[in-house]
Amino acid sequence: MGERMLLTGNHAAAHGARLSRVQVISAYPITPQTTIVEELSEMVASGRLQAKFLTVESEHSAMAACVGAAAAGARTYTATSGQGLALMHEMLHWAVGARLPVVLSNVTRAMAPGWSIWSEQTDFLSQRDVGWLMLFAENVQEAQDFVIWLYRVAEQVYLPGMVAMDAFILSHTSEPLIVHDQDRVDAYLPPFRPLYDLDPAEPRAYGGLVNRDHYYEMRFKMYENMERAGPLLAEAGREFGEVLGFPYAPVEPYMIDDADYVLVSAGAMTSNVRFAVRLLRERGIKVGLLRLVAFRPFPFEEVRRYLGGRAKVAVLDRNMSPGHSGIFAQEIRAALSQGAPPTDVYGYVLGIGGRDIRVETVVEAVEDLLARDHPERCLFVGVKGLPIGPVRPDAEVRPLEPLEAEASG
């Protein structure tokens, strides 16, 4: 079933779009997303994919074109990264408010300035409150499959969805995967049936002014559908296993049943975390892992079930929200505040701006976790010259020092 191939995460994402039979692709290239749309444009040019490929002048326009195409009833795809996703932000709201199930792959990249093309999840998580379904892929197989999985659910609730793929670590690393057979994907993913027909014979105003007595209700219904998306995502993940051989779920526990200490992670770093858990288990430390696959809708039940009552929970965040903590840490604490037994959540921030998250980095964090006797909101791992710990209370702003050459002159 399917064809075993060796592909980068980006090419796998392109295959995910192809297998989903997307009809319109509108994209603007940005490192490290570029090879996704390059591959798609070649698929379209060669006729392997029957779709309209629109080149536009910005990511804002890319999403605007997706909105137009989806409103006209096309299954629509785009991909972006970092600053591109930020520029798309207004149109992300548009897609969701118009209830258009666009799917996009975002190669997560640190935000500028300073300019960085390297891996970090803050760009993606900054879109938290827009109302899109949000998934984190860990490997090349998922970079492909999550596109298909998302279309399946997004088109049931008429809400758009995005997949996060870590820059380079996932986007540009080649791994073996199964590229599914088209007929199997067709069996899993029915054709898109738009919510409203755009009919030139009966022109209507879309996205216009809404009075105070209607807006709230529209948003309320949008919220209701996002709630529906939780169980639908779980169901569609199970069915993905039945039809295509890879079962997926909103969370993925590992060595968790008897664990006193549970690490939480998302995205490609999870592979190293999993390896570290195994090493630590060999040392007799009862540590486990809960990988978050779905971020929106948030898997409250699963988080409470797997994390509630553990001795210590350490959330590993490749992102941060200044003035608070890592974003996953906030979300986990919020989930545990409702009906779960008291659980201490330790927030660890690491891997910012593409800094490597090695197996030893995770082991160091766990050793730090074991040594602490009360939870810390936000602990920084791997800041040069500093041990793992919170921010310095005596931090101050220093003026720019003169360049050495000037000072000596």
Partner: protein, 556 residues
């Protein structure tokens, strides 16, 4: 649980429940609005015959050959002729000139003329019962005859020589304008019922008065054939250039001597020089000013130089004398002075002379019309030039003049324009006429300026130049047609270069750009002013600036 059924009745998205048309007329916010207004392209404006260049090119590009031909021939019935010999004032005016070179309009015109070889000219809608005589069958006479016939009059063309065509047949060499092209145009006119009577000249045998008796009106277009005297010593030893061309046109391909000189800088001088060169002569052109002031078509000057014709500028022959079987020409060297009435630098004598030796010397310094048949009443002063209105009318209400007889020596296209105007003036007097399409009836005099063109829509590309037929392949030998027509693919590619100034060639740019979808399409943009907010984008983008942006309160 409380009842939320009212919430479920809301649509999922903000969408108007009624079709939106008529609900919110955003066009009411507008204080400027776009209007589609066709205006005159500079090529058409510069053309004496006012040929609507972008319009016929667009039709040609769409494969609508007959419509292109009919559009063209509303203004000039002979594209195959002017496409070969016109000095193309259009190209000099072309808005594309400063960008990457003017459109190759003359080559496209010839392409149209050749492609339309099998088509007939539009004939009359009905008969007026009036009869008009046309005297002379050069470009002015033939054009006048055509538009008179199209207007419903019976037309008789009187021609002094044995075949119709005048200067086209007897004055322009075969290598520029093959006789077969002239024959075809004459045949087309004959097919409309125009009668040609050849071998009859205005004069004692056929007076103006007699023609007025026999017809309701007379158009005289006998041209300018008489050599202008230079007033130099030994002038009778020189040969007349135009007469020589006529002789060659009649098949006498004789070279009067090996070393030839041609005096003059106009088209006749170039024609004589190039014919002599083709027949094996060593040819020197003597011109009293410099290359920049030559009235000849620049391409012809360049071609003459390529042929191996030598040029002696600032040279004015003062005397000719026979000497030992040869002609000694005493030439005064000139210098350029202040501009004269024509705007060109005036040649001034230096007193310095040089003697040159030739076997034959041809005079081509301009011709003048034979005015003998015209009574003093039709002249500006007794014995002087004819008094002619811009429409060819004269003091005699039944007599009109056209072509070189009306203007003095000019170009084929000016003669054609004069012929058409005279014909229209005749119809204004006698009744009859032909229907004008809307564009011609409402033509704007407003010319599109170069800055109005949106260059963003045009990539720079060299113009298509017609190629030369290799001498061995020329039909009719060494005097056979020299310039090849351009291929269909080249014509289409060249038409794409046209800025289409002031003419909507249905590019659809406005339709694509309108952010309010307030433009619909019906062979061109149609504005829905209920929804046009007056942003002006269509007007800014319009490549040929057909869409103007006007204040809402002005009527446009």
């Amino acid at each position: 649980m409380s009842d939320l059924s009212h919430v479920d009745r809301y649509p999922e998205i903000p969408v108007s429940l009624l079709a939106s048309r008529g609900v919110l007329r955003t066009g009411e916010w507008r204080n400027m609005r776009p209007v589609a207004r066709e205006r005159r392209a500079p090529c058409s404006d510069a053309c004496p015959a006012a040929v609507p260049v972008p319009r016929y090119l667009h039709l040609l590009a769409q494969g609508r050959l007959r419509e292109a031909y009919e559009t063209f021939t509303l203004r000039n019935p002979f594209p195959a002729i002017t496409g070969r010999v016109c000095p193309h004032f259009c190209e000099a005016a072309c808005n594309r000139d400063p960008y990457d070179g003017p459109l190759s309009i003359r080559a496209l015109e010839r392409y149209l003329g050749d492609a339309a070889a099998g088509l007939g000219l539009v004939g009359p809608e009905g008969e007026t019962g009036k009869s008009v005589a046309v005297v002379g069958s050069g470009p002015a006479g033939l054009a006048a005859a055509y538009y008179l016939r199209r207007s419903g009059h019976r037309v008789v063309v009187y021609e002094k020589r044995e075949k119709p065509g005048g200067l086209l047949r007897y004055g322009i060499p075969e290598y520029r304008l093959p006789e077969a092209v002239v024959d075809a145009e004459v045949a087309r006119l004959g097919a409309l019922g125009i009668e040609f009577r050849t071998g009859v000249a205005l004069g004692p045998g056929m007076s103006l008065e007699a023609l007025k008796e026999a017809h309701d009106a007379v158009v005289v277009a006998t041209g300018a054939w008489e050599g202008r005297p230079m007033g130099m010593e030994g002038e009778s030893l020189l040969e007349a250039g135009l007469e020589y061309l006529e002789q060659v046109a009649r098949g006498h391909h004789t070279l009067p001597g090996r070393r030839c000189a041609v005096i003059g800088g106009g088209n006749t001088a170039m024609d004589v020089a190039r014919v002599l060169r083709r027949l094996g002569g060593e040819v020197t052109v003597l011109y009293r000013r410099t290359a920049a002031e030559m009235p000849a078509i620049p391409e012809e000057v360049a071609a003459a130089a390529r042929d191996g014709v030598r040029f002696e500028f600032l040279s004015l022959p003062r005397a000719a004398a026979k000497e030992a079987g040869a002609l000694r020409l005493t030439v005064e060297r000139m210098r350029l002075g202040e501009p004269d009435a024509s705007g060109r630098a005036r040649p001034e004598p230096t007193g310095e002379t040089v003697d040159l030796e030739f076997d034959a010397v041809f005079k081509a310094v301009g011709e003048r019309a034979d005015l003998a048949p015209f009574p003093d009443a039709m002249r500006q002063e007794p014995g002087g030039w004819l008094a002619v209105g811009s429409d060819g009318s004269t003091a005699d209400g039944a007599v009109f003049v056209a072509g070189d007889l009306a203007t003095g020596p000019a170009t084929v296209v000016e003669a054609i324009a004069r012929g058409r105007r005279a014909a229209d003036a005749v119809s204004a007097r006698l009744g009859g006429g032909y229907d004008l399409p809307a564009w011609a009836a409402e033509e704007s005099p407003d010319v599109v300026a170069p800055v109005e063109v949106n260059h963003a829509y045009f990539s720079r590309r060299a113009r298509v130049e017609p190629s030369e037929v290799p001498p061995a392949d020329r039909v009719g030998g060494i005097l056979g047609e020299e310039t090849a027509g351009i291929a269909a693919a080249d014509a289409l590619a060249e038409i794409e270069r046209c800025f289409s100034c002031g003419y909507c060639n249905q590019c659809g740019t406005c339709f694509v750009f309108c952010p309010d979808a307030a433009i619909t399409w019906d062979d061109g943009p149609v504005f829905d002013y209920d929804y046009c907010k007056g942003c002006g984008i269509c007007s800014v983008e319009c490549p040929g600036h057909v869409l103007l942006f006007v204040r809402e309160r002005d009527d446009g």
